[in-house]
């Protein structure tokens, strides 16, 4: 089953009330599969074919605000077209869920995997959870509403996977039975909603300066609260699935001298490199970031406290001239935590540029030099760039 099929399967099991969506590669298959399921009577979600992604997110907001559990799917420029509404949805504290199949933003025009779309939306107030493979995107989606709808949170959630690399790859997967999923996800009982005739309310009114800042602070608090909720939901999910999740996965990194920190499908490839190097007595390790929003900076910095050299890898260029988003945020967290490891930031895999086991081994080799000689070249570099 491909990553997109896994997402569609999870949507059928969750059975959200409404799905407004507009097709864009490589997420197109998701609304396509779900539409087929609806047509075949396998699920009774109301599908709204809209005329653009701006409308998809607006319709999603509207239905969620009305009190209906809502989902949508997009990628790349589609996510960019939603930009304005992303912020409105989050600040309106609407717990909707969006599956993002990560693809680079144009240009040059390209359809392949990159995290620049969702990373660009990292400050929009959405929770962001990333996956290494089909299994993880499926498991993450099943946990999404439990996090989003929690009374301490009430924020929208993005469930991300790498375009084509996992979205279009057929891989092994363990699916849950329908009944335990329905029981785990539960039914949606919104506390406040527009269709409640006993509670007349306005949504999205103008907030004057004496109130606006407090609203934003409350929203930031919800994001901080999400940390505990994400861990609690993961524990409950482990009890029914046997698969455990946290903010990040530590793969042979506890005693590692050289650690790569990365996000998404490349982590599987890096794990193979770690195993090969461990066979050669090189103490290599990987930390795979699953939750990027809220950012588990303190936890990550602590997990890296005994490393000698760290490579933070971004599948995204942020054009800051100073590195990618994961690099910037994690280095700041390591500074706060007074980590002593040398840390470099590496941009890789843009527009689907492949990352091989050999490439990953090359990064560890560079880390072993950095551990003894310090950072002699640039602190922020590109991997796999054609000279």
């Amino acid at each position: 089953m491909s990553g997109n099929e896994a997402v569609a399967h999870a949507i059928r099991q969750i059975n959200p009330d409404v799905m407004p969506a507009f097709p864009i590669t490589p997420s197109t298959e998701i609304p396509q599969f779900v539409s087929n399921m609806i047509a075949n009577g396998e699920v009774d979600t109301e599908f709204i074919p809209v005329e653009s992604e701006h409308s998809a997110m607006s319709a999603a907001m509207g239905s969620e605000a009305a009190g209906a559990r809502t989902i949508t799917a997009t990628s790349s420029c589609g996510l960019a077209l939603m930009w304005e509404v992303l912020y409105v949805a989050a600040s309106s504290r609407l717990p909707l869920v969006m599956t993002v199949v990560n693809r680079g933003l144009t240009g040059p025009l390209n359809i392949n995997a990159e995290h620049s779309d969702s990373m660009g939306a990292r400050d929009s107030g959405w929770i962001q959870i990333y996956a290494e493979n089909n299994q993880e995107v499926y498991d993450n989606l099943l946990q999404a509403y439990r996090i989003a709808e929690h009374t301490d949170v009430k924020l929208p959630v993005m469930i991300c996977q790498d375009g084509f690399i996992t979205s279009h790859a057929v891989e092994n997967i363990e699916l849950m039975e329908d009944e335990p999923v329905k029981k785990f996800v539960g039914s949606y009982e919104p506390e406040h909603y527009l269709l409640n005739q006993n509670e007349v309310m306005a949504l999205g009114p103008y907030a004057t300066s004496p109130y606006c800042m407090e609203a934003k602070r409350a929203q930031a608090q919800a994001m901080m609260n999400a940390k505990q909720v994400i861990l609690d939901v993961a524990k409950e999910y482990e009890a029914i699935s046997g698969r455990s999740y946290g903010f990040f996965e530590e793969y042979r990194s506890e005693d590692a001298d050289f650690v790569i920190v990365a996000i998404g499908s490349a982590c599987g490839t890096i794990k193979d490199a770690v195993d090969e190097l461990r066979g050669e007595k090189v103490k290599a390790g990987l930390i795979k970031v699953r939750v990027f929003r809220p950012f588990p900076g303190e936890e990550l910095a602590k997990a890296l406290s005994s490393a000698k050299a760290v490579a933070i890898m971004d599948r995204c260029e942020s054009y800051s001239g100073h590195g990618g988003p994961l690099g910037a945020e994690l280095r700041a967290a390591m500074y706060e935590n007074k980590n002593t490891a040398e840390a470099v930031n590496i941009v890789y895999g843009l527009s689907g540029r492949d990352l091989t086991v050999e490439d990953a081994k090359g990064v560890y080799e560079r880390l072993s030099v950095i551990a003894t000689e310090g950072v002699t070249d640039r602190q922020y570099t590109y991997l796999g760039l054609r000279e």
Binding site: S2, P26, I111, N112, E132, N133, D162, F164, I165, T166, H168, A169, V170, E171, N172, S265, A266, G268, T269, K271, D272, G352, D354, L355, T356, V357
Partner: protein
């Protein structure tokens, strides 16, 4: 088979190379293998060269990169021999399967000095005999199963029957032709001679 088997498919957009790769992964999954089947996308258009990949193993597969040193290569369209370096990276002991009516001896000079095993299959002829329409991926799929030894041919046919019955639930009439094409391909894949319409 305990080790990882890696297969690279070369075809042209619309010929079903990607579908063949994904079907192979599905069938191998059904017999309990760990699998990965994925396409490499470029500008998608009919007729443009496309590449797809399969990894099949008894162990969990974590790597998410393309395949540069495959055990096997399957070429769905022989006109690609002139434009794509199809034999690139083939592992020692590996093999290439080419859809052609020509013999492997005739093809040899077009394979950039490749010295490994060459298998051929005339998918056009098999399709003419069994399907009446040209879907080269069906015979190619059977042929690659045969030469890689990923699974027993009988088990493969059994799994394919189930899969096709499901896929063509609304068009049961196409099942028989497809099954015939698969069976014929299993017998007709050659390492050095031409195929004939022997099943008719």
């Amino acid at each position: 088979m305990s080790e990882l088997v890696e297969i690279r498919w070369h075809g042209r957009g619309g010929q079903g190379a990607k579908t063949a790769a994904l079907l192979l992964a599905d069938v191998a999954f059904n017999i309990g293998k760990h699998v990965q089947g994925f396409p490499e996308y470029g500008p998608e258009r009919m007729g443009a060269p496309i590449t797809a990949y399969d990894r099949i193993s008894d162990q969990e597969i974590r790597v998410h990169s393309n395949i540069y040193e495959p055990n096997y290569v399957a070429v769905v369209d022989e006109t690609l021999l002139h434009t794509v370096d199809v034999t690139r990276g083939i592992k020692k002991g590996g093999a290439i399967l080419i859809n052609t009516e020509r013999s492997s001896e005739e093809l040899m000079p077009e394979l950039n000095g490749y010295e490994g095993r060459i298998y051929t299959i005339d998918a056009k002829k098999i399709c003419d005999c069994t399907l009446g329409q040209y879907f080269p991926n069906t015979p190619m799929l059977a042929a690659i199963v045969k030469i890689t030894g990923i699974m027993e041919p009988d088990r493969f046919l059994e799994e394919m029957k189930k899969s096709l019955q499901h896929k063509f639930a609304r068009k049961p009439e196409v099942l028989e032709g497809n099954m015939k094409a698969l069976k014929m391909a299993l017998e007709e894949v050659r390492s050095n001679s031409k195929t004939g319409c022997s099943q008719n």
